[in-house]
């Protein structure tokens, strides 16, 4: 439940359901139902929409602290899951106040090189901004865009591309 992103669920449908099920308990049931639908319909288990949700390439900064967040094509908006990952990173950074980080922004191979450099920078900054709202000083964060120069997955298919659209938090010291 907690990991469910409602971004890909028809907002109109939710509104209607909210009207029908005024009772909070019933709304919860409806969400569970929708969540099941969303999983079976939209996700291959690894992608939601075109955002990667799998774990194949994810590494960990500490136990339970994933190092990366993923983006939709041409987007730099943080998904619900990304924000949760970044909150875990922020908590870890607050506990380890001497650690500084580099946010490495990346794009998939389906864009022109120069635009992708800018897009990678934009994605890494989206992550940076979010970490800052959770109390991490910008002094501890630097940003580095690789554009499409350093894919983690060399495949030429939608799943590979989704793994490559990412911002990775790397310990700098």
């Amino acid at each position: 439940m907690k990991n469910l992103s409602i971004r890909n669920i028809d907002q109109g449908a939710i509104m209607k359901l909210n009207k029908i099920f005024k009772n909070a308990f019933l709304v919860t049931v409806a969400c569970l139902f929708l969540s099941a639908c969303a999983t079976s319909k939209k996700s291959t288990g690894q992608m939601q929409g075109d955002v990667y949700t799998g774990k194949d390439t994810v590494e960990y900064l500490a136990s339970g602290v994933p190092d990366r967040v993923f983006f939709a094509t041409n987007e730099s908006v943080l998904t619900t899951a990304s924000r949760e990952t970044l909150r875990k990173q922020a908590a870890w950074l607050r506990k380890n106040s001497k650690i500084t980080i580099v946010l490495e922004g990346h794009a998939d191979e389906r864009g022109t090189r120069e635009y992708n450099l800018a897009l990678g920078e934009r994605r890494a900054n989206a992550a940076k901004d979010y970490l800052m709202t959770y109390g991490i000083s910008s002094d501890r964060i630097s940003v580095l865009s690789y554009g499409k120069e350093r894919p983690v997955d060399s495949g030429s298919n939608p799943l590979s591309w989704s793994k490559n659209r990412r911002s990775v938090t790397v310990k700098a010291n």
């Binding site: 635009y115 800018a118 350093r150 060399s154």
Partner: protein, 447 residues
């Protein structure tokens, strides 16, 4: 590296004025290339021996003619005829061709010439003949250091091309590009430079740091490019002759997408900060930095018009990547691409009338051209992935790079340079010793 200073270019014959009966039309796709005979340049025994010692080539006369022949063939406008069919020996043909013999093998034009070793130098003369009219169309001679023999072949081609098409040639030119090796996830990239025909390839960096998007300045002596030296992606300037490199400007973040202004005095580029990329210029003399665009969107891939009055660039201010044109001070920004899909990498033609671009539509990448107001869009080639067109100095040919799709195992990746005529015909692979991307075409070196 640059032979300019050593290159002595002298014209000893005044071309005889004749009405050119041969004309090559380069405005359309040329499906009937002009049959042309390139007779090996004749050479005397003594010169032959001397050049063999210096250049390790058996017969430098026929080597030069091979360069000319290959250039003419690659242009797509000429069909060099098989030498086995030639009836007249090179030395006699250069004095006076027996036109009926050349007519017999269907040659419409004939190139003859002579190579000599004089005062440690290479002296080459050549003539272009109109076979049907039975007349000489031009005659020129050059003297240079022997090591420049390939350039002589390129210059001869430029002269012939110009005489027969009425347009300046593009053969005595070079390409700077990024040489690539290694797996897709850890590509090693180096700056490399080569002659337009792929010869004299040379690596300019060692591959220790990632380098991208090299571009020549107007006289092709300097290059601006992006380097990840010390993991700080910044625009650099490289002097090809001396090898000296320097960072352009002092920016607190990534600078990228550099190009020179047409007078070579400024570099225009993007600077990314806090998730926003805008376009800046830096004057190379007084180091003054100017901000040209000011918009929360991504503004990048700037390219000047040849008169320096306008700048084209791509921006996602409309929500998606599209091409815009503005005055060079940043005023009067106008979107010019309105077709379906995304548009990027606008590059202004050296003639000023067209902008070449990359387009992404329904999962395919195209190289195309449009007028500078966005009208008359024409797509030249479609593929899985290709981008970054660069114009030949005469504005007739585009060079770009193309990447292949990998298979299910992530294998089979390659990146290669390709060229295509503005007409959409004559698409060709440009041979490079390694994989290659981000090509930039120089100006004519002999100008």
């Amino acid at each position: 590296m640059m032979f300019r200073t050593l290159f002595i270019f002298s014209l000893i014959f005044i071309p005889i004025k004749v009405m050119a009966l041969i004309e090559v039309d380069i405005t359309r796709g040329n499906l009937n290339p002009l049959p042309i005979a390139v007779s090996p340049l004749s050479i005397d025994e003594n010169s032959k021996k001397n050049f063999q010692k210096i250049l390790k080539k058996k017969n430098i006369g026929s080597e030069i003619s091979k360069v000319v022949e290959k250039n003419l063939k690659t242009s797509g406008l000429f069909n060099p005829l098989n030498k086995d069919a030639f009836l007249q020996s090179p030395d006699i043909a250069n004095l006076k061709p027996r036109f009926e013999d050349w007519n017999l093998i269907k040659a419409q034009a004939l190139i003859t010439g002579k190579v000599e070793f004089i005062d440690e130098k290479l002296r080459v003369e050549f003539r272009l003949w109109d076979v049907l009219a039975g007349k000489e169309m031009m005659a020129l001679a050059f003297t240079t250091v022997p090591e420049n023999w390939r350039r002589v072949g390129h210059i001869i081609t430029d002269k012939v091309y110009q005489r027969l098409t009425g347009e300046e040639g593009y053969f005595d030119t070079r390409i700077i590009y990024v040489a690539e090796e290694g797996p897709k996830t850890r590509r090693v990239k180096k700056l490399a430079i080569m002659d337009q025909d792929g010869s004299n390839n040379k690596f300019l960096t060692l591959g220790n740091e990632l380098v991208l998007t090299p571009r020549f300045n107007p006289n092709s002596q300097m290059v601006t490019y992006l380097s990840y030296f010390r993991n700080l992606p910044r625009v650099y300037l490289l002097d090809i002759e001396t090898g000296t490199q320097e960072v352009v400007g002092d920016f607190p973040g990534m600078t990228f997408a550099p190009r020179f202004s047409p007078d070579g005095k400024k570099i225009i580029m993007s600077f990314a900060k806090d998730g926003n990329s805008d376009i800046y210029t830096m004057d190379l003399e007084n180091r003054i930095v100017e901000k040209i665009t000011n918009h929360p969107s991504i503004d990048t891939s700037p390219s000047y018009s040849p008169d320096g009055k306008f700048i084209s660039f791509n921006s996602d201010r409309s929500g998606y990547q599209q091409i815009y044109v503005m005055r060079s001070d940043g005023s009067n920004v106008k979107r010019i691409s309105f077709g379906k899909g995304l548009y990027g990498t606008p590059v202004w033609s050296p003639r000023g009338d067209l902008i070449a671009f990359t387009k992404l539509h329904k999962g395919k990448f195209y190289i195309g051209v449009m007028r500078t107001d966005g009208s008359g869009e024409r797509l030249l080639t479609e593929n899985f992935y290709q981008e970054a067109p660069s114009w030949s100095p005469n504005g007739r040919v585009l060079i770009f790079y193309r990447e292949t799709k990998t298979d299910d195992k992530g294998e089979g990746f390659s990146a290669k340079l390709w060229s295509i005529d503005l007409t959409g015909y004559n698409e060709r692979l440009v041979n490079t010793p390694t994989d290659a991307s981000d090509p930039s075409w120089s100006s004519l070196l002999s100008n």
